[in-house]
């Protein structure tokens, strides 16, 4: 196929046939009334998502105001220590898990499809599920503070303070189960973003022409895939320790609280970049639009985003300088910290160079003010970052208000200011009116002065020795005045945020036609759009198509480009190749539906009811979630239900696709990377616990199960994989006569997979190993439990595939479901084999 960006200018002639546009509008018409809850379009889910994340920002901000009021004067009695502990824990947790990460993903859901020239992200119902799970779970989690049930262990929840001995009440469980499952939403969003960015770009938008913001979202989605599994595993282990007394973190039984710190910060430090890099991506979009000139050093900025994304994984011990880790190991992290400054510096210089090349900048608009505020505040946070990166200084400043000042400068400067700039910048893209310049200027100055007034004095209180997380303090010289200043500043920030809320209430009006390209920006989200995205999908020749392709907006709006209507009568978008963005097939997309919403309700109910030990109701909600997911998926994988369609310019595209080129295959591969990361974190835990407590590892081969049982378990795993492989070949070769044997072999494969787990668990039990007595027993059974989870999922997928076969929905051409099952199944088998090798081979290796 020739390069569409080089040879075809206008694939479709004008005028367009009557009724074509109306049919497109009908296909994308959002439901109203109560069915408003079932909307799946990115434009709506994105707005709900951003709005909910901002609600959590406000709620967590109110908690901060209560804390600052308590600290305004010495010896204050407004808030007691127990509530104060809940306040600072909830403030940090809600800001990081329910505001920052969801906000950046929400902005991606809202903006990316239009910026890439797609009609929607490739899995609209997954976005909807992720949103509702997050919104329902998050709001219930937040409400715990009104009943004194909120967690009290700080946002990083270090054991042993949060384990069963020192925190026996349910408060910590709310954090572990509540936040743990909301992380599933983050991962669902990340899968959506990876596949969306790589596979639904407009024809001609090669990787080298992709907007920097899309690059930043691709990078952070990749980071979420590798970072979040560590905290998911950590929360699982701590919850199991609390519920069943498996001593992963109990030093007296060979566990180690530091294991939690490793798992938490392996997620926690990349997390800082997960929220900063999209903000940097937003800045890289706002500055060129305000300056009227392309971003200087595009390729270097892409390099910086990718480089910073990776290197940020080498910084997690940053947060553990005072824990007695070997000095050389600390040096690796110091060196990585210095290396990461290179890509970060590249971005800052690219922004400055773009500003220096500006064709227009004055008068400064509100988004630009927030960008400049970001420069000032973030750079100050960076400077104190250099200070705390110096290990001896960190030993002095650790756990003092100096750290509170540093992290707020970094996070508010690096994320909140760019986000507010982005809200002002992109509001005209979704709203009939832009936000007010005048109110925006008030908001900016109130927030800018407020942030500095709040947090700059905290450097000094910290250096004077005030520890963080104290609910009150004595009247030491100098402390009272500085704390009063900080409290005043906090209320100034609140006033600034209130102005933004009022501005939104007065001017944000979601609907079409939107206010349009008020900034004269060059990227595709500023094309005329509706619920369907763009009327036709443009061919892109450059990084700023609206600047370089005159008349593009009008041509797209009139339908001169690809797919000016709906080719199959429903919702659809063009899937393109990952590198060159060549059209490959037409993706039929699902419309509104109740099933993702019910699945989200079921998931939230399952986890949150488990928190309060209501097991039976929790199981009922779990069944609701499972049934809803089956209902949701049953209509997917339609197979070749439609002949190839002409999208314009003689380009005929197949409708749907199976195999490695399909979007569904890509999503499954990304999911497997997530699963591999969870398992990798558990393997790390096993080896880490061995390094700290070799004495609880077996001291004689006789203490281990004989080699017969792992060999049998491995054999069963391999046999099940071979069975599924046979089914795959049979399905491709002779689908007409294969239904009966295929069903039989698949059912046997399910049994073999389950049997492999039973053999392993029984072998450990027969060897007398208990998960409660030592960390070794806990981690061995932990590996079996994780494998059990994957076996259960694979078996469920196998049975679901069987059900589709019985329903006549499985064939050589209609096999996305089967392929997904096979991919996940093979992963489960490989994971099981590695786990067996580790559990049975490693101790034998040690014993010689």
């Amino acid at each position: 196929m020739s390069d569409p960006s080089a040879t075809v200018d206008y694939p479709n002639p004008l005028p367009r046939p009557p009724g074509e546009f109306e049919q497109l509008q009908r296909a994308w018409k959002p439901p109203t009334g109560i069915r408003l809850l079932t909307r799946v379009n990115n434009t709506y889910v994105g707005v709900y998502y951003v709005g909910t994340s901002l609600l959590f920002f406000l709620l967590a901000g109110v908690l901060a105001l209560v804390m600052r009021t308590q600290l305004a004067v010495p010896e204050n009695t407004l808030v007691g220590h127990d509530l104060y502990n809940q306040l600072f824990t909830m403030h940090g947790t809600v800001m990081m898990f329910l505001f920052a990460v969801p906000a950046v993903e929400a902005m991606g859901v809202l903006i990316l499809p239009n910026m890439l020239g797609a009609r929607d992200l490739p899995f609209p119902r997954l976005s909807m599920y992720a949103f509702w799970a997050y919104a329902i779970g998050g709001l219930i989690f937040f409400a715990t503070i009104f009943w004194g049930l909120a967690p009290r262990g700080g946002w990083f929840m270090y054991p042993p303070l949060t384990s069963y001995e020192y925190a026996p009440a349910d408060n910590a469980d709310w954090w572990l189960l509540g936040i743990g499952f909301i992380e599933i939403s983050a991962i669902a969003g990340a899968i959506e973003i990876v596949v969306g960015v790589l596979r639904t770009r407009a024809p001609g938008m090669t990787l080298g022409r992709m907007p920097v913001y899309a690059w930043s979202m691709l990078v952070i989605a990749g980071m979420i895939i590798f970072a979040f599994p560590a905290i998911i595993l950590g929360t699982l282990l701590l919850e199991i320790e609390r519920s069943f007394q498996w001593p992963f973190f109990v030093a007296a039984k060979g566990g180690d609280p530091l294991l939690w710190q490793h798992l938490f910060w392996f997620f926690g430090h990349p997390e800082v970049y997960i929220i900063f890099l999209p903000a940097a991506g937003m800045v890289s979009m706002i500055i060129p639009a305000m300056a009227g000139t392309p971003l200087v050093g595009y390729r270097l900025v892409v390099l910086a985003l990718v480089g910073a994304g990776f290197l940020s994984f080498g910084l997690w011990v940053h947060h553990m300088f005072t824990t007695g880790i070997p000095q050389l190991s600390l040096s690796f992290f110091s060196a990585a910290s210095m290396a990461v400054s290179i890509p970060s510096g590249i971005q800052v210089f690219a922004w400055i160079a773009t500003l220096a090349a500006a064709k227009r900048l004055r008068p400064l608009k509100v988004p630009m003010l927030f960008v400049l505020g970001f420069f000032f505040i973030f750079v100050l946070g960076g400077l104190t970052g250099v200070m705390v990166a110096v290990v001896p200084f960190d030993w002095q400043a650790h756990d003092s208000y100096f750290i509170v000042a540093h992290l707020h400068y970094v996070l508010i400067g690096g994320m909140v200011f760019p986000l507010f700039g982005a809200l002002y910048y992109w509001t005209p893209y979704i709203s009939r009116k832009a936000l007010s310049e005048r109110m925006g200027q008030w908001a900016f100055w109130l927030m800018f002065v407020g942030v500095n007034l709040t947090f700059f004095p905290m450097h000094l209180t910290g250096l004077m020795g005030m520890p963080r997380r104290v609910y009150t303090y004595a009247d030491y010289p100098g402390w009272a005045e500085l704390n009063l200043l900080s409290t005043g500043g906090a209320f100034l920030i609140a006033a600034g945020v209130l102005v933004v809320v009022v501005d939104m209430a007065l001017h944000l009006r979601i609907g079409n036609p939107n206010a349009g390209n008020v900034w004269g920006a060059g990227t595709l989200e500023w094309l005329p759009n509706g619920d369907y995205g763009n009327r036709s999908i443009p061919i892109v020749h450059s990084r700023e198509p609206l600047w370089d392709q005159p008349g593009l907006s009008e041509d797209v709006k009139e339908g001169r480009y690809y797919l000016p209507g709906t080719a199959t009568g429903g919702r659809e978008t063009i899937v393109t190749s990952a590198i060159d963005a060549r059209p490959q097939y037409l993706l039929q997309m699902p419309g509104p539906g109740w099933s993702p919403l019910l699945a989200a309700v079921g998931t939230a109910g399952f986890f949150l009811l488990l928190t309060v030990k209501l097991v039976l109701p929790a199981l009922l909600f779990g069944a609701l979630a499972l049934a809803s997911v089956v209902w949701w998926l049953w209509g997917s994988d339609p197979g070749p239900s439609h002949p190839p369609v002409d999208v314009g310019g003689g380009l005929r595209l197949p409708v749907q696709m199976t195999g490695p080129d399909s979007h569904s295959w890509w999503a499954m591969v990304v999911l497997i990377l997530v699963c591999g990361s969870i398992f990798g974190s558990l393997v790390f835990s096993y080896l880490f616990l061995w390094t700290v407590s070799p004495d609880v590892w077996p001291t004689a081969v006789e203490a281990l199960p004989g080699l017969g049982s792992p060999a049998a378990s491995a054999g069963l795993l391999l046999a099940s994989a071979l069975g599924v492989r046979w089914c795959s070949r049979r399905l491709a070769a002779d689908p007409a006569r294969s239904a009966g044997p295929l069903r039989g072999v698949l059912a046997v494969a399910v049994l073999l997979l389950c049997a492999s787990l039973v053999v392993e668990v029984e072998a450990q039990q027969d060897a007398g190993l208990s998960p409660r007595e030592t960390a070794y027993g806990a981690v061995v059974y932990g590996l079996a439990a994780l494998q059990g989870l994957f076996v259960a999922i694979s078996a469920t997928m196998g049975l679901y595939t069987l059900a589709r076969s019985f329903a006549g929905m499985l064939s050589a051409q209609r096999r996305q479901t089967f392929d997904n099952t096979r991919l996940f199944w093979n992963y489960t088998v490989v994971q099981g084999l590695v786990a067996l090798a580790l559990v049975h081979g490693f101790p034998r290796l040690l014993l010689g």
Partner: protein, 115 residues
Amino acid sequence: MRLPVATHDLLLLFAGPMVWAAHFVLIYGLNGIACARSGSAARWGGLPWEAWAIVAAGALAAAVLAACAAARPRSESEHSRRFVRWTSLALLALALLAIAWETMAVLLVPACSGA
């Protein structure tokens, strides 16, 4: 097995940071285990064996980076090939710098003190 073009070029694009990540895990794990299980106190050229192992890991990673630098993008569009080539080389260079920087620490800092 010949990889599909998209998989090949994406792996090439991210090869440098992936090598860096593997190297980082290797040296951190090696040093952690070496310090937890202090065995041989043998020194060679003034450095303990752990330090030489970390230097060797750095050399191995550099060799892998050099091998990656020889690979060429395979996508059809010239524009994409140039972009992927430039970006992958720049990321390989950044990875090499980070690996060299981290390896240099063995010359300056004792392996296990502080543990």
